[in-house]
């Protein structure tokens, strides 16, 4: 805490710091923390408004981050097992199915082949949809038999295309669906979301800084009289800035808290439709990333942005503060 005074200079210094050591530093912080709580609680309305503004500014990029995390998680899970599904003609010969399985299984890119016969397809369909009753109106099972080839994880696009052509040319195969297209779409979405997250994160981060800077600026204006007196009686710049850094941290932390609440609210609202949307692709919707570490980082980030905003406002305003 010795501000510029080396030991040698201090011995000759006619005005050594009056403050007696580290204890004084702690007492100053404690005093300011108390005053901050007092000052903020006396202006609860304004403080809540600032919390809300900072919270919204943080919630959007943080929410996008969560979304991106989950999309990445999904594509990762699927990317490991790209697949190819071949649907057979309704009147396919069982031998043709066996031949198809054999020729695909012989390929080095194919890890496993699983056949779903017409009855199994019907059972699956009944289990997964509400339309099952409609099937009862039909005389016969309209679903074809299919085979699903699970591929090795690092299959190239060319190999995939070659496999698709091979499967397409097999006797009895009516249609071939490569799941890669879906995967590519999801991973494209994930890329878009993450880039959007970065851009919005930057923009809204600056926004959060500006909001706290403005609020701290108002707090400074409200206490100019006090700042003048403080400077007059020998408060250091750091001491004068300290209460406002506390404000900034307080506003930022509150903002982080609001952001966390907004995001969990969002999750509650979107969870049901999202799991419906993804239901057929992922066994169960298991959101990742909304954990204590994420919440802690959100609070820390909010606090840090608040402090930066306060620093900006305080150093700007205190620089041209005329005492008398």
């Amino acid at each position: 805490m010795a501000e510029g005074a080396t030991g040698k200079r201090r011995s000759k210094d006619p005005w050594p710091p009056v403050r007696p050591g580290l204890g004084a530093w702690w007492r100053d912080h404690l005093r300011i923390a108390r005053e901050t709580v007092h000052f903020v609680s006396a202006r609860l309305g304004t403080s809540l408004l600032v919390w809300l503004l900072v919270g919204i500014a943080l919630a959007l990029p943080a929410g996008l981050f969560l979304l991106q995390q989950n999309l990445a998680e999904m594509t990762e899970a699927w990317d490991g097992r790209p697949g190819l599904t071949a649907y057979f003609d309704l009147d396919v010969d069982p031998e043709e199915i066996d031949a198809a399985v054999a020729s695909l299984a012989a390929k080095s890119q194919v890890e496993a082949v699983r056949v779903t016969d017409r009855e199994a397809a019907l059972a699956e369909f009944r289990a997964f949809t509400d339309l099952a009753n409609a099937l009862d109106l039909l005389d016969s099972n309209p679903l074809p038999a299919s085979l699903k080839a699970t591929l090795i994880s690092d299959v190239s696009l060319e190999d995939l295309e070659a496999l698709r052509e091979l499967a397409d040319g097999l006797a009895g195969v009516a249609e071939v669906v490569v799941e890669k297209t879906w995967l590519e779409r999801i991973s494209d979405i994930s890329t878009v979301v993450s880039r959007l997250g970065v851009i919005l994160g930057l923009l809204f981060g600056v926004g959060a800084i500006l909001v706290t800077a403005t609020s701290v600026r108002l707090a400074i204006e409200a206490r100019l009289e006090e700042l003048r007196v403080l400077r007059l009686i020998g408060a250091t710049e750091r001491q004068m800035r300290r209460p406002f850094l506390y404000f900034g941290a307080f506003y930022g932390l509150g903002g982080g808290l609001v952001a966390a609440m907004l995001i969990s609210l969002c999750l509650v609202v979107v969870e049901a439709p999202l799991s419906n949307l993804l239901g057929s692709y992922a066994q169960e919707l298991d959101l990742v990333g909304f954990d204590p570490i994420f919440l802690g980082s959100l609070l820390l980030l909010g606090g840090a942005l608040g402090v930066v905003g306060a620093q900006v406002a305080a150093s700007q305003r205190l620089k041209d503060l005329e005492i008398l």
């Binding site: 710091p17 408060a235 008398l324």
Partner: protein, 244 residues
């Protein structure tokens, strides 16, 4: 070595106004002096430069042998912690009690709370306001407010006490009480410099008087008697520098 030395101090504002012109003065440790002169003579400017609230255009101000005019940052803050300052419009914080106002300089210096209480009560009892410590400044009379300002200035037991028109709004009776207070602080070894245009009052105190006129010292010495002739001659002789 004098405690405070002004060496050829000139203050010219951006608009060309010269508030101090080649001022030379010395103050011994534990001495007392009044600054006087017409309105606009440069009294406040003199004290502001000493408090480093502004910088001189030319010249040096040495305090304990150190040039204070170009100090910044922590050193400047610590320097101010060792001064006490009183102003006409006392600069008390309206939303803080008398006790809190007076304790502020001690808190700034990081003093322990129980020591703070002791010091604040000592300072308040010196100015006779111990029983008002819980009140807010707006409920005090002007004279009482001024005494709170003085208590805040002396609570750190500064080596140097500066006051700018501390009796400005007060009636003669109260003014005399306030000046007596400064005299008492001087008697315990504090260097005291008080700016005042209340000539009758300060001439009656029997203390060194420095008279400024248009930024120049036209009289410097202990002179208990009012002498209109010397005053007039001083006014005609604006740039004269009588030896102190």
């Amino acid at each position: 070595m004098p405690q405070i030395e002004f060496h050829g101090v000139t203050k010219r504002f951006d608009n060309g106004q010269e508030a101090l012109a080649e001022v030379n003065a010395e103050f011994a440790e534990g001495s007392m002096a009044f600054l006087t002169g017409h309105s606009g003579a440069g009294k406040s400017t003199f004290l502001k430069l000493l408090l480093c609230l502004d910088q001189p255009s030319r010249g040096q101000i040495l305090v304990n042998g150190v040039n204070v005019t170009r100090m910044t940052g922590g050193r400047l803050a610590h320097y101010r912690q060792h001064l006490g300052a009183v102003f006409q419009d006392h600069h008390l914080l309206s939303h803080r009690s008398v006790y809190e106002n007076v304790s502020l300089p001690l808190r700034i210096s990081g003093m322990r709370e129980k020591d703070v209480g002791r010091r604040v009560r000592a300072a308040l009892s010196r100015v006779g306001l111990l029983e008002k410590e819980r009140l807010f400044p707006r409920y005090l009379s002007t004279g009482e407010q001024q005494r709170v300002g003085i208590a805040r200035a002396v609570v750190t037991r500064p080596k140097i006490l500066l006051a700018d028109e501390p009796t400005g709004n007060l009636d003669p009776e109260l003014s005399r009480d306030i000046m007596k207070l400064f005299e008492q602080f001087n008697q315990v070894g504090t260097t005291v410099i008080v700016a005042s245009h209340d000539r009758d009052l300060i001439e009656s105190m029997g203390v060194r008087i420095i008279e400024l006129d248009q930024g120049a010292i036209v009289r410097d010495g202990v002179d208990a008697r009012v002498d209109p002739r010397s005053h007039e001659s001083a006014e005609r002789h604006q740039t004269g520098l009588p030896d102190g």
